[in-house]
């Protein structure tokens, strides 16, 4: 019985000590520790993994856990109660919905920009050499879901081409008629082209990573039709360790984080 009492007291003491420790660590400059869970758009996969390695090198007692996926998927998971500390979306829209539904909190910061490119497999079975070729009947095109940022941007770019008489009447309708699969995130779109199953796709410039560049043909989308994709990042409303979440966000916005993003083709915010 006395032993039990001792255990309880020891537990309380440890709890108090740990609380004290937390207060202490809240002071600026104190060492960061613990785990930060980051929900990030699929297009950020490679760049964020490099950023996380650098972040952990600077803060050895920190663990970074990622969940990469389509921005709407991640936002839905957050709304359904998934535990996370940081949300990085590939567009404003999903971040705005997340703000409205109260799963993320201010400050929201834009940390990168991206643009679109048309990709085809290296052997180019659809013989695509210009944007105009995308309307040719019988092509197999793959896009991301219209709700996924990459899918929405692609449709916006097609609409801009549609408005240009150079592409002929009904351009975007003809292109969309060639779409054979709507993927849930942009990395799956890239995979379908990389496998050679699809003739072409519209993806982010940053999706053509160094390891994929040799397997893909790229067709530029002129800035007249290209859409600038803005990437916002914010802490979640119920971040377990807000200071750590904000530290990760600050690191993404720091010169080191921006340099890593630039290495993967992202444009500065």
């Amino acid at each position: 019985m006395r032993f039990l009492l001792f255990l309880v007291l020891a537990g309380v003491a440890a709890l108090l000590a740990s609380c004290g420790g937390k207060d202490e660590s809240a002071a600026p400059g104190a060492e960061l520790s613990g785990r930060v869970t980051v929900f990030a758009a699929a297009s950020l996969t490679d760049a964020f993994q490099e950023i996380s390695a650098a972040f952990r090198a600077a803060h050895p007692r920190v663990e970074v856990v990622f969940n990469f996926g389509g921005s709407p998927t991640l936002r839905t998971q957050l709304e359904q109660g998934a535990r996370a500390d940081v949300f990085a979306s590939a567009d404003r829209q999903q971040m705005d919905i997340a703000l409205r539904s109260g799963v993320v909190r201010e400050p929201v910061a834009v940390f990168a920009n991206n643009s679109l490119v048309v990709i085809a497999p290296k052997d180019n079975p659809g013989r695509i050499s210009s944007l105009g070729d995308l309307r040719r009947g019988g092509l197999k095109l793959v896009l991301a879901n219209p709700e996924v940022p990459a899918g929405a941007y692609a449709r916006r770019a097609l609409a801009l081409m549609d408005a240009d008489p150079a592409f002929g009447a009904g351009f975007s309708v003809a292109v969309l008629a060639n779409v054979v699969s709507l993927e849930s995130n942009v990395k799956q779109v890239v995979a379908k082209v990389e496998l050679g199953e699809a003739d072409a796709a519209i993806v982010y410039r940053t999706d053509v990573t160094p390891s994929l560049a040799s397997k893909l043909v790229q067709i530029e989308i002129s800035s007249r039709y290209n859409v600038v994709a803005e990437y916002p990042i914010a802490p979640t409303a119920d971040a377990a360790n807000l200071r750590l979440a904000q530290a990760f966000i600050d690191f993404v916005l720091s010169p080191a984080g921006q340099a890593a993003l630039a290495r993967y083709g992202f444009l500065p915010a």
């Binding site: 389509g70 079975p125 197999k140 879901n145 054979v180 709507l182 993927e183 849930s184 496998l195 199953e197």
Partner: protein, 275 residues
Amino acid sequence: MSERRERPSAGVDATRVFAPLALLFVAFVAVPLVALGWRAVESGELAANLTSDLVLDAMRLSAVTSTIALALAILFGTPLAYLLARRDFPGKAVVDLIVDLPIVLPPTVAGVALLVAFGRRGVLGGRLDDLGLDVAFTTAAVVLAQLFVSAPYYIRTVKAGFEGVSPAYEGVAATLGASPLRIFRRVILPLSWPSVLAGAILCWARALSELGATLVFAGNFPGRTQTMPLAIIGVFDAGRPLDVAIALGVILVLAAAVLLVLLRLAARSATRPSF
């Protein structure tokens, strides 16, 4: 000493210990299913969700593809099940293993395997492409994915049914001058009918619930490759309200329940002598 004293009451205590555990588990399975139905009714838009284009397209496609997959499983699986049950041939153990393998494989592995075989760059896909047969992203790809993962359930069950028919009946029929094909049709098939029915139901249910292989091999396009399970995933991916996913879920739960009841009926008719 105390152990010996407790022993007489052990029989009673077993129920007392087991029942709460058993009840907890039943609740664990029942609560999500009831919650699904409750949320569907509570939304007040079940009927509207069920008649949306997305849901109707997915239901139509699921019904068509799973039925074709079942028909193909019966066409090719019945002879295979018969040979496995009745004949000895070299490599039989290997064939048996190959047939059963998709049951224990993760469906995504099945999808990747189908892709590297029948995809455009696949081992056979290139040749199919030359013949103008391009299955990637088509409804045919959905059927192939479903057939691959569901046929083993049919073959296994039917094989066990054939094995349960005593060879003595075949011997009698043969001495009466019946041809082997006639024996199969008039003796073996009627006697193992409940197994054939049970196998068909299991096969159809598995085809209906197929997701992983289809996503990888057939892609996701409404009306063409988006079956009901894919439509449910699509709702999450698009970040749409869950109501549509819940409506589709309710239909699949009801369909599964009907299939299970049919399965029980088939099993009951199996225990009744049918001759």
